[in-house]
C-alpha cells in the first residue's frame, strides 16, 4: 500500500509541472499586463514599461518561468502586487476559508445525496422516489448563485435570521456559533446543486447492486430490508459512489467561486477572480498551483480509499 501511495504521488509531479506551465503561459498570453491594470487610465506605454520593469516583468518568458518555479520549489511563491502581501500567506488564509465552506458543503451533499439516492432506489418509482427526483432536478437546474441571492433576500434581508455576508462578525466574538451563523446560507446554497448530482448517481449505483444475486441471497436468508439496503447493498454500491464523491469534491470547490462572490466569503475562488481581473500574475499562478496540488492529493486519497474498500482494485 505504501508503495502504491508513493507511486501515485510521484506520478502527480508531471501533472503539477504541466499545470504550472499552462497557468504561467495563460497569464503571459492574456492581453493586458499588470502595469496596465495598476495604472488604469494612466497607462501610457512609458509608464507601463517603467512599472513592468519595477515588477520584474521585463525579463524573457522562459527565464521568468524558471525563476518562479525555482523560488516555488523553495517555498517562495513571491509577493502579490495587488495585495502587497506574500502569495503563500494569502493563499493559505483564503484556502482555509474555502475549505470550511466547501468542506461543510461537501459533507452535507455527500450525506444528503447518498441518503436520497438510497431511499430513491429502494422505493423505485414510488412516491418517495418521484418526490426526491423532482427536488433533485430542481436543485440541479437552478444556478447556485441565484439560490444564494434568493437566500440572502429572504433569510438575511427580510427575516434577518442570518448575516448577509462575510465569514466572521465585524464585532463580537469569533466563536463557533458566529461561524455557523455566517456559514449556514452559503454552505446550503453550495450544497443544493451538488446534492442533486450525487443523489442521481447514487440511485443508479444502488439500483444496479439491488439487482444482484447476493442481495437476493441476503433477502432469502431473512436479513431485514433495512439491513439489506444499508448494510449489504450500500456497502457494495459505495465502490462506485466514492469516485463520484471525489469528482463532486472538485465540483463543490469550483462551485464555491460563485458562492464566495455572492456571500463575500473570503475564500480562494474570490481571490482568484480578483487576481485575474487585476492581472496579479504571481497570485493567480500560486493560487492555481496550490489548489491543483490539493486536488491531486485529494484524488489520490479517494483512490486509496477505494482500493481499501474493494480488494478487487489492485493497489
Amino acid at each position: 500500500m505504501t508503495g502504491y501511495i508513493l507511486k501515485r504521488i510521484v506520478s502527480a509531479i508531471p501533472v503539477l509541472l504541466g499545470i504550472s506551465i499552462i497557468v504561467f503561459l495563460i497569464m503571459a498570453m492574456i492581453p493586458g499586463d499588470p502595469a496596465t491594470a495598476i495604472l488604469g487610465s494612466y497607462a501610457t506605454p512609458e509608464n507601463v514599461a517603467k512599472l513592468n520593469s519595477d515588477l520584474g516583468l521585463d525579463k524573457p518568458l522562459v527565464q521568468r518561468y524558471f525563476i518562479w518555479l525555482g523560488n516555488m520549489l523553495q517555498g517562495d511563491f513571491g509577493r502579490s502586487f495587488s495585495l502587497n502581501r506574500e502569495v503563500l500567506e494569502e493563499v493559505q488564509d483564503r484556502f482555509g476559508a474555502t475549505l470550511v465552506l466547501a468542506g461543510t458543503a461537501f459533507v452535507l451533499c455527500s450525506l444528503l445525496g447518498v441518503a436520497a439516492g438510497v431511499v430513491s432506489a429502494s422505493r423505485q418509482y414510488g412516491l418517495a422516489d418521484k418526490l426526491i427526483t423532482f427536488v433533485v432536478l430542481l436543485g440541479i437546474s437552478i444556478p447556485s448563485f441565484f439560490i444564494g441571492m434568493m437566500m440572502i433576500l429572504i433569510f438575511a434581508v427580510n427575516l434577518r435570521w442570518f448575516p448577509v455576508s462575510g465569514m466572521w462578525p465585524i464585532y463580537g466574538a469569533r466563536d463557533f456559533s458566529a461561524l455557523i451563523s455566517h456559514l449556514t446560507l452559503p454552505a446550503l446554497a453550495l450544497t443544493v446543486v451538488a446534492t442533486g448530482v450525487i443523489a442521481r448517481l447514487s440511485r443508479s449505483a444502488m439500483l444496479e447492486v439491488l439487482r444482484q444475486d447476493f442481495i437476493r441471497t441476503a433477502r432469502a436468508k431473512g436479513v431485514s430490508e433495512h439491513g439489506v439496503i444499508w448494510r449489504h447493498a450500500l456497502r457494495a454500491a459505495m465502490v462506485s459512489i466514492i469516485p463520484i464523491l471525489g469528482i463532486q469534491a472538485g465540483f463543490v470547490l469550483s462551485g464555491a467561486v460563485y458562492i464566495e462572490i455572492v456571500f463575500q466569503w473570503p475564500g480562494i475562488g474570490r481571490m482568484l477572480v480578483d487576481a485575474i481581473l487585476k492581472r496579479d500574475i504571481l497570485l493567480v499562478q500560486g493560487g492555481v498551483v496550490f489548489v491543483a496540488a490539493c486536488y491531486v492529493l485529494f484524488n489520490i486519497a479517494v483512490d486509496v480509499a477505494q482500493s481499501l474498500l474493494d480488494p478487487r482494485i489492485k493497489a
Binding site: 493586458g32 487610465s41 497607462a43 506605454p45 502587497n84 464585532y171 451563523s181
Partner: protein, 524 residues
C-alpha cells in the same frame, strides 16, 4: 417501513440543528454606536498612499494621512493642511512651505521638514534607501520635482524643472499624503499593511478580506473626530453590498448601483449625491475615416441622446456633459457652454453635407472599468442612436485591461471611436494628457484620437505655466469652447458619485474630489 423511521429521525435531527443555528443567528447584532461601518467596493491594495492608485483605497487613506495641503470642503481648491502657508517664486518653479509645528505621527515620531524630504525622496529618487518599498505608480504626478530641500526644521522648498500649475493640487491628491518615515524604516515593504500617518484616524487592524479598522486619533491637530472607529468592509458584489445596507450590516455604502437606488427611498436611509471631476466620453479617430471631418464628429454629438443615457440607462446618477472639463472644477469651468442638443435632423444634415451617410464605424466598448459606469448598455444605446441617423456602427467589446491595451496606443487602423472615462484632480490633467498634439500616443500621451489644434496646445501650455488661478481659469474656459466646437470627442456624461447612509449617521457629505472624509461624521 423502517426506512421512513430513519428519514423521520434524520428530519428531526435536521430540524433541531436548524433551530439551534437560527437561535444563534436571530440575535443579529446591531452595529455599535460611535463605530461607522463602511461598505467599500474592494479590498484595498495597500495603505501606503504612494503605492496605490484606486479611489477605493483613497477613501481609507484620506482619513489616516494628511498632505501638505488639502481640498477645501466641498470644492477642488486647495487650503493649508500640514503646511500652514507657502510662497511661490516669481517664475513658478520654487515652492516654499512652512510646516505646522507640534504635529506627530500615530507612531509617536515628529512631523517635520525631514519627514517631507524623506517622503518625496522615497518616491522619486531611485537611489533612496527605501525606494524599494514601492513601486510608486503615480510618482509621475511629481515628475516636475527636481529637488526637495529642508531649509529649517519646519520649512521645506520644492524646486521644479519648469513651472507646473497643478503642483499644489497634486500635493492635495493621495499620492502626496505624508507617511511616517520611522514606520517605513521599521516595516519596509510591509509598511502598506502597517501604516502610520498624522490623520484624524489611526490604523488599528487589517483583517484580510474582512475589514480595515481605524480608530480615533484623540490628538489630531485638527481636533479629535467624533467617531470612535471606522470599519471599512470590502464587499465587491454590488447586490450583496446593497443587501448588507438593507439588512443593517453596514452604515454607509458607496457606489450604489443605479438600479438599487429605489431600494433606499424612505426615512431609514439618506441618499447622498455629489458631482465630481469625472467625464465620460467617446474618443473619435480624427486622423482617418469619417471622423477626420469635423462635421461628422459634430453630427455624432448631435445624434446621441445623452439625456436618455443619463436618465434612463444611468437612472439619473449622471448629468449630461457639455465639454471636456467637468463642472466640478467650478473655478475653471466655462458656464457658457451648453451641451450639444439631441437633434437627429441636424446630425443628418451635417452628414449629408459631409457626404458621410452610411459610413461604417468600428466602436470599441469595454465591459467595465474604473469610472466607466455601465459601458455595455451605454455603448448599445449610442450604437442605436448613431444607426438611426445613418451610420453603421459595429461594436467590439473587450475586458477593461485588454481594452486599455487597445485604446491607449491609439485608434489608428483599428477603430473609429472608443468609450473612455477620466477622473482627475486638476482641470489641467485630462486635456493636457489627452487633447494636445504633443500627447499623441507615440509621444507617450493619451490622445488616442489624434486631435490636434495649435491654439488648444498653446492655451494648455500657457495655463500650465501660470500660477495665477484666475488667469488659468480664463485659458481653460477658452480651451473648452474651442474643443467643444472641434468635437474631437462625443461629450456624454459627468458622473455623480453617490452613497447611502443609514439614519444613524449624521454630518456626512460627499466631496467633489470623490474622497471620503469622516472626521466630522457622527453615528448614534
Amino acid at each position: 417501513m423502517r426506512l421512513f423511521e430513519i428519514t423521520r429521525r434524520t428530519l428531526l435531527a435536521t430540524t433541531a440543528a436548524a433551530t439551534l443555528v437560527l437561535g444563534s443567528g436571530a440575535a443579529m447584532a446591531q452595529t455599535p454606536p460611535g463605530v461607522l461601518i463602511v461598505g467599500q467596493i474592494a479590498e484595498p491594495k495597500a495603505l501606503d498612499p504612494a503605492a496605490v492608485t484606486a479611489v477605493n483605497d483613497f477613501r481609507i487613506l484620506m482619513n489616516v494621512y494628511d498632505g501638505l495641503v488639502s481640498y477645501k470642503d466641498g470644492t477642488l481648491e486647495v487650503e493649508p493642511a500640514l503646511a500652514t502657508d507657502w510662497s511661490i517664486s516669481e517664475d513658478g518653479t520654487e515652492y516654499t512651505f512652512n510646516l505646522r509645528e507640534g504635529v506627530s505621527f500615530h507612531d509617536g515620531s515628529d512631523f517635520n521638514a525631514d519627514s517631507v524630504v524623506f517622503n518625496f525622496e522615497r518616491m522619486l529618487n531611485e537611489d533612496h534607501a527605501y525606494h524599494n518599498t514601492g513601486p510608486f505608480p503615480l510618482s509621475f504626478f511629481f515628475s516636475a520635482v527636481q529637488k526637495v530641500e529642508k531649509l529649517d526644521a519646519h520649512t521645506v522648498k520644492f524646486s521644479l524643472n519648469a513651472p507646473y500649475a497643478p503642483f499644489l493640487s497634486n500635493l492635495a491628491y493621495p499620492t502626496g499624503l505624508i507617511v511616517s518615515p520611522d514606520a517605513v524604516q521599521q516595516h519596509g515593504v510591509d509598511f502598506g499593511r502597517n501604516p502610520s500617518g498624522t490623520g484624524a484616524f489611526k490604523f488599528a487592524e487589517w483583517r484580510s478580506n474582512e475589514a480595515v479598522v481605524v480608530e480615533k486619533n484623540a490628538d489630531y491637530w485638527g481636533g479629535a473626530p467624533e467617531l470612535d472607529a471606522v470599519v471599512f468592509r470590502p464587499i465587491t458584489d454590488a447586490s450583496t453590498r446593497t443587501a448588507e445596507m438593507l439588512a443593517g450590516g453596514i452604515d454607509l455604502m458607496v457606489e450604489v448601483p443605479p438600479v438599487a437606488l429605489s431600494e433606499f427611498q424612505g426615512n431609514t436611509f439618506t441618499v447622498h449625491e455629489q458631482a465630481g471631476p469625472h467625464v465620460w466620453f467617446l474618443i473619435l479617430n480624427t486622423k482617418e475615416g469619417p471622423f477626420a471631418d469635423k462635421r461628422v464628429r459634430q453630427a455624432a454629438n448631435y445624434a446621441i441622446n445623452k439625456e436618455a443615457i443619463v436618465n434612463d440607462v444611468l437612472e439619473g446618477t449622471a448629468e449630461v456633459a457639455a465639454g471636456p472639463t467637468p463642472p466640478a472644477f467650478a473655478w475653471a469651468y466655462n458656464d457658457d457652454l451648453t451641451p450639444y442638443p439631441y437633434s437627429p435632423e441636424k446630425a443628418k444634415e451635417l452628414l449629408a453635407e459631409a457626404g458621410a451617410e452610411g459610413a461604417e464605424l468600428t466602436f470599441y466598448v469595454t465591459e467595465g472599468g474604473s469610472g466607466m459606469l455601465d459601458p455595455i448598455t451605454m455603448g448599445t444605446a449610442i450604437q442605436a442612436d448613431l444607426n438611426a441617423v445613418g451610420f453603421k456602427v459595429n461594436i467590439e467589446t473587450y475586458e477593461w485591461n485588454t481594452f486599455l491595451g487597445k485604446v491607449n496606443p491609439g485608434l489608428e487602423g483599428k477603430a473609429d471611436m472608443a468609450e473612455m472615462a477620466w477622473m482627475t484632480n486638476d482641470p489641467d490633467t485630462l486635456p493636457f494628457l489627452a487633447l494636445r498634439t504633443e500627447a499623441w500616443p507615440d509621444k507617450g500621451g493619451f490622445n488616442s484620437g489624434y486631435y490636434s489644434n495649435p491654439k488648444v496646445d498653446d492655451l494648455l501650455e500657457t495655463a500650465r505655466a501660470s500660477t495665477d488661478q484666475s488667469e488659468r481659469a480664463k485659458l481653460y474656459q477658452e480651451m473648452q469652447t474651442i474643443v467643444q466646437e472641434d468635437a474631437p470627442w462625443v461629450f456624454v456624461a459627468n458622473w455623480k458619485q453617490n452613497a447611502v447612509a443609514s439614519d444613524r449617521v449624521e454630518g456626512f457629505s460627499l466631496q467633489p474630489s470623490f474622497f471620503l472624509l469622516l472626521d466630522d461624521v457622527k453615528k448614534n
